[in-house]
Symmetry: D2
Subunit: 337 residues, 4 copies
Amino acid sequence: MMIVMKDGAGEDQITEVIEKLRSVGAEAHLSRGQFKTIIGAIGDREKIFEIPFAAMPGVEEVIPIMKPYKLVSREFHPEGTVVNVGGVRLGEDQFVVIAGPCAVESESQMLAAAKAAKEAGAHMLRGGAFKPRSSPYSFQGLGEEGLRLLDRARDITGLPIVTEVVDVRHVVMVSNYADMLQIGARNMQNFLLLREVGMQSKPVMLKRGLSSTLEELLMAAEYIVRGGNKNVVLCERGIRTFETATRNTLDLSAVPLVKKYSHLPIIVDPSHATGKREAIPALSRGALAVGADGVMIEIHPDPQAALCDGPQSLGLEEFRTLMDELRAVAPPLGRTL
Amino acid sequence: MMIVMKDGAGEDQITEVIEKLRSVGAEAHLSRGQFKTIIGAIGDREKIFEIPFAAMPGVEEVIPIMKPYKLVSREFHPEGTVVNVGGVRLGEDQFVVIAGPCAVESESQMLAAAKAAKEAGAHMLRGGAFKPRSSPYSFQGLGEEGLRLLDRARDITGLPIVTEVVDVRHVVMVSNYADMLQIGARNMQNFLLLREVGMQSKPVMLKRGLSSTLEELLMAAEYIVRGGNKNVVLCERGIRTFETATRNTLDLSAVPLVKKYSHLPIIVDPSHATGKREAIPALSRGALAVGADGVMIEIHPDPQAALCDGPQSLGLEEFRTLMDELRAVAPPLGRTL
Amino acid sequence: MMIVMKDGAGEDQITEVIEKLRSVGAEAHLSRGQFKTIIGAIGDREKIFEIPFAAMPGVEEVIPIMKPYKLVSREFHPEGTVVNVGGVRLGEDQFVVIAGPCAVESESQMLAAAKAAKEAGAHMLRGGAFKPRSSPYSFQGLGEEGLRLLDRARDITGLPIVTEVVDVRHVVMVSNYADMLQIGARNMQNFLLLREVGMQSKPVMLKRGLSSTLEELLMAAEYIVRGGNKNVVLCERGIRTFETATRNTLDLSAVPLVKKYSHLPIIVDPSHATGKREAIPALSRGALAVGADGVMIEIHPDPQAALCDGPQSLGLEEFRTLMDELRAVAPPLGRTL
Amino acid sequence: MMIVMKDGAGEDQITEVIEKLRSVGAEAHLSRGQFKTIIGAIGDREKIFEIPFAAMPGVEEVIPIMKPYKLVSREFHPEGTVVNVGGVRLGEDQFVVIAGPCAVESESQMLAAAKAAKEAGAHMLRGGAFKPRSSPYSFQGLGEEGLRLLDRARDITGLPIVTEVVDVRHVVMVSNYADMLQIGARNMQNFLLLREVGMQSKPVMLKRGLSSTLEELLMAAEYIVRGGNKNVVLCERGIRTFETATRNTLDLSAVPLVKKYSHLPIIVDPSHATGKREAIPALSRGALAVGADGVMIEIHPDPQAALCDGPQSLGLEEFRTLMDELRAVAPPLGRTL
């Protein structure tokens, strides 16, 4: 950590900072320039971070040098983590395709989507039983009945299931059904929920918040891993920007950067990122090309009748076509499908 | 709602939209331009909203005309709502100042801040007992012990208390202590929490999310009011933008616009918005001048020792000076302090 | 265009809107809902747009239905445009790679980069002679001497050249040297410059502004095409968001959407978008996979000595490796390199 | 400047950085932590900045400590600058109100607005003769004829005039008419134009770009001052964010921060910031309360007939009311009107 002193900072103020550092066993390296004095702090990072230097008199700015996360960092764990979700391995050569409806609506809808996903070659199923919706007047999901339908879809297809948990009181219940728990974008900084999913044993897919930096995404993952659960899969799903042509702006740069900073697998959700069906095939190919470990795609047997997010769902035939494209592009990228 | 058809949309597709509208008892008004056909939907708004027009073939775009919220809208309830928090009335002539530390840290810290707040003329106290923090390694609050200290501060000063609730399992417990429950920015779209606070009787202060539009803020308030709790106070606390000179960008335009669209009171939190102590007096005056019903300001008896957000806390003397300024500016703005 | 009237709009106000529309020969379609009256305007779009409905009493909102651009729209010109730049065709099967240094610094630097680009298989050269820089103290480019060095690089390699023009007084001079004129992101809405390049005959590469929507990008292109120059190539180069891990956020969704809305070719500049060398190969592959017509990549014989943007420049060996990767991935995407 | 080395940076790489620093006469201060080595650079700032450290092998990050601007900084020039525009002094006690139409449309419109501005107590007139417009089909201004009408409005009212210059070829011509030249938001980083206005003698009002940080705004001002023109007035006019309820998000925090970092006066333009007439009085009062040196407000004798930005123009009566409000609020804020 570098502590930058104000222009006219007094010697006593500089001394106070140095003594604070020494009080936690850290060293202080002093650099005096023509205008600014800078104090480098070297020592136990967590102890140093606890001292509120930024509020001390004479201090202009505190610049952290080390990343604030540790357990999820690649420096700490150089090898990439592989997360096993009911036999499907995320973080290896396979480019994992997760498909299914936004919301589980009915048995016939869920099973039709599941069978089509399986036939087209998807590796995992998705489907929301609990739906966080901006409006209290929108369909909020089938609840536990939706989980039972997902269970049935797994029985029939053999594909593992990922589904969102939104309520700390439901974590145990949802993890009884799901092969992987999803933390949605709006809950990325619901720290209580992060802690709860960190204390159970099913893998967790953590979606990036609408206005979260990559550093915040990794800090959120740190909450889960610190709770004891190492099986975290990150998911880029678009960030909020001024652009209105898409619902959010998919940040594919996140993929190579997360791979650099962290050992966790990362997948991409082009459906929520764009909200536009016609952009999904292109961005799914893009996700594969930038090095993502998979994609999560919304499909629906009848998008125009979907209770949720129909405009961003691929029809089953469109999904089959996309799978064929991905299969063709994967090999030169060193991926299998 | 206006349904815009694609350029080449067929007659059957137009008919299908019209029939869907009629199936829920709505009327369809057809406008055929040279390039576009547009169908206006008139009828029961909630029924119309349930139909996924945007996913129907031939439909290019669906443009909602009505606001998606109702109970919180000024159209529905033209008079401004006044929220009574332990005798302090938000939404009337009084410009309400809420002051206190970011986090309750200890008895001596909380009581020193509370007494200074009272002496300087603040109307309400704040203090966090449960702190959502980006890092799992940061101080997370004293929990229920913090609530007891807040209770003691209220006993001594007579000022009502607002404190944040983050856990759906704590709503009853926190509302036993607090005069107003705060929903923090990160929980603005934690719909379960919104529902829970909507079902208890204490007033709720709802902070705008970091990347939430005003419409989403009002939709979140709609969740609470729909649950039965009409006493909601909104709080503008800065949004996330590209600018890095401040922690967030305080959006003071939100105040006149919320006043136009909604009957709920709105206050401003300049401390979290800027993260910079030196900007807080100016923006507090600004909040008063644009018509906010109050401000919430972080103060600390010893900002440089604060366990949380010291750089954005005013010292007690600075706070007194600010109160004097606000008192001088209020009368020509038609406000009392 | 739909004109939405305020809730309490009077009959006289509705009549006034209708009469304004009739005064320019347009039809008015009236839809009266329970709360809102909406007037659809049908007729000559440009005449209708000239009437300031939004400022008329009783009008709440004006919603344009038609896109505001015409000449660059795919509706107007369904076939994709192919832009021929000195024999290289942008907008066909070939994925066009443009490479070169950010700034032309010296003969040896430019020629080394140019030869390496040629050998690795690039199709076009780039290099800045006039550099817009945030700081007046930064290197501003070699000026016309830089153009002469580009000319020499073209002579030696046979590759056409793209270079930026920043000054309306230089358009003729720069177009004497360049095969394609580049309009930089900061000048995307420099409408005078757009008009000037629209009146000369060389193709123009128009970069998206840092905070420009796709609609504004297409409107800027409309300025150029309307001036008589149909040979416009768009360039996505990242937008400004809250994320600080990359310099800008590359918006690859722009590619499929621009292809949908417009007939103009679009390429991607991952170098400026990220400012991070290590992300460039991944995003170049991503650009190819989402359907871009090419990429523009900064290379430098000695990035650590670059006078401008060294950290985002690929070394010549890294560039060769990237070209090999792109060549491998192109065929299954239906592209040649 | 602090140069942070990568985790595994070799001794030779560290040595290379140190030698580069010494080659320009600078000192290097070495801090070796457990994971990171950091090199502090002390010496001639401009020489140090010219070295592309960020591109050197082993370097992870370069962190500038000093602000990149100098002439406009308060450190360099502690006293506030007062800019005299035709006798009106910006940067002193007077809160300066500039009023007028968005665009000069006709003699009757301009003179009606000017007289009303004068009568209501405005101190300066505005009016655009050259209008940068997103669409080539929109009204682009009257050109020099507009300047002549502004000149006439000044003759009649005695109020000085500010008007925008967009073309480097027009700087001399426009400065023959104007008392202050305006650089619009879209031209904030049109460095050629900044240089030209820096070389003439009339004061310059520099508007913040839609996506410009405060640091970039001050760097743009540095271009002008460095050219020899010290009379620069900054203008906050809203930045582009995700919020769509207003055209832009007015960043009133910019005022206290600019006052801290720079000695230049700063005013606020609430008309362009919000695009909504109903928010303008509140935000004008807010500008006064946060410490701005003035506001620039669009007024129109007949907003519903305005050729440009009618919905954000105040009618003349609304403007008079606003002036009365400002006059009442100014004294307790230490301002005169």
